[in-house]
Symmetry: C2
Subunit: 389 residues, 2 copies
Amino acid sequence: MAKPRLMTPGPTQVSERGLLTLARQVTHHRTPEFRALLAEVLEGLKYVFATEHDVLLLTCSGTGAMEAAVVNLVARGGKAIVLESGKFSQRWRVLCEAFGIEVIRHEVPWGAPFQADDVARLLRKHPDAVAVYTTLQETSTGVGHDIEAIGRVVGPSDALLVVDGISGVGAMECRTDQWGIDVLVVGSQKALMTPPGLAFLAVSPAAWRQIEAIERPAFYFDLLAYRQALAGPDTPFTPAISLVAALAESLRAIRAEGIERVWARAKLLGRAIRAGMDALGLQLVADRPADGMTAVYVPEGLDGRAFLRRLEARFGVKLAGGQGPLAGKVFRIAQMGILDELDVLSAVAAIELALAEMGQKVNLGLGVGAASRVFAQAANGEVPNTGGK
Amino acid sequence: MAKPRLMTPGPTQVSERGLLTLARQVTHHRTPEFRALLAEVLEGLKYVFATEHDVLLLTCSGTGAMEAAVVNLVARGGKAIVLESGKFSQRWRVLCEAFGIEVIRHEVPWGAPFQADDVARLLRKHPDAVAVYTTLQETSTGVGHDIEAIGRVVGPSDALLVVDGISGVGAMECRTDQWGIDVLVVGSQKALMTPPGLAFLAVSPAAWRQIEAIERPAFYFDLLAYRQALAGPDTPFTPAISLVAALAESLRAIRAEGIERVWARAKLLGRAIRAGMDALGLQLVADRPADGMTAVYVPEGLDGRAFLRRLEARFGVKLAGGQGPLAGKVFRIAQMGILDELDVLSAVAAIELALAEMGQKVNLGLGVGAASRVFAQAANGEVPNTGGK
């Protein structure tokens, strides 16, 4: 009977408007009406991605679009620099290796951010690298990487900058064109508040030149086919029509609020969560926290899986667990999409109660109070603490 | 203000139950609840496909699953026999060529069915062919191919039989195991009455042996990853969760009616449509009609596109037009999914009126009467005419 409160960093909750759109009868996609809808969606995505570049819509999970960003850019035997620090940045490497690309692997510990200086050094050492693959918001650790700084060092090089923004874009500031991102990959089911099944790519003119220059082992993911279809606009293959219609609703809502306000809201919610966790004595995984989600260590000696089960069974609060080396050790909570201040306070309260009920020493209300103070300060216009933890 | 009546051969109408399921809040996919739902869906798909083989669920359009059926089975430089007779069977060839596969192309005119004897001859001439790629219901022409007969000649050979059942399966009889189909490809948005975005593959043990034996240029479409995830059951990448939930509703409805009855219903609707068109003096494209849809030539001298626009504007009846060489010359109408007798009679009535209003000589009611007689005969238990046109 627990009321479901989905707060995982993907999928995220869909708005009522989005859900009602999904309940509308499916329409045909080779029609002027669908082309108009798709045109609106592509414009909306450009707005959210802060880009004037081409934006392409694919029907697949985020991984499918990551594959497209690999096979269309780097030919078999070509070289790519992969920045790795978590399960999702790892996927870039696995993908590159699956397609016979020579990977220059730059690994930093899970929870640590990439340093632009390291990237500059790698680029000097590997001037023949075709692309640098990196991540905006690493969903396995909650790290927000400094793509702006990385963009500044990749910009002057011959390499293309490819960013997995699947979970970050729409929550965390991401200025695609200004920061020199050549290919941005985004998914529907995170900050864009749409069920999974759609993924998007923003492609710069420099990336298109590279895409035109190479042969690719791709048909469904051949980006030239998607570019050709943009004239309609259209998609080369049948798109997930209902999801496109729901996405249009999300994009309207983001436009109405304004993307900078949406970024600021996610950042504020994140600060409140971190303040709450800090007050409860819990440790964060990320040294440089992302804006769209937070990963938190469960207290030593507590079974992380049992903790998540209790949160869900008692309060309907659905958080995500840890992945890879963090399995059973952390919980991950979203602060993006339609989640708001009271959702965050509810979640912090639920975390307090679950910890107490599982025998942890908790001063009930301490976390909620600390999180609330962040909101009160923001409402009073006090200068927000934009720092790390 | 016209009431929408979607009757295209994909996407097809989604039931009210399916639509309301889509309107439910999205749930997380790495949960026991979703695994139970996925298990139910995979069992339901096996029932509809008449197979005990593994069934895999992919988030992509039908073309994505076709790509999976190509890159996982035939290595670059390998040989495949492709039976081609329409836009969608053509896609098999284009896909094979895109991945460097040597194509033995067997082309028959659009509208004609493949002959098993020809396939037997090709297999004798090319004993090294790894697979035969063919189509159950060719959506561009409305031909239903005799997969049972083709299966009988492919069976004794070393080649695998791969069937595009994207639009046919669930409308047209298809006994995957009994007919010796090694890989069956199906889409969500046709007879399975679910919005587009999901595709499925049934994979025989012989096909798995081949898949294990070769290297593939695939990651998102690497079928070994999907097989590994079946243990959950799970999907290797985030699935289109909402569509899976809606699909479960469709599969429950099909099970409740019984697949043989569903096949019989589509066949009956098809016979009625053909009788109606025949009474109106219109010609069919298909020499061997499919059970799930019908393609009909517009009368000589009539603009097919204008005819379709009028049908939609006047009556909300949305049919599909022609593709490739048939563009502007035909209309295509679905007789699958939740469409029923009155939907078919309405559509025939709309076709009569639109023809009359566009200056064609039409005896109003003649087509509807002929179609109705088919239904009356079936209701009276008179032996149905199972013949061609």
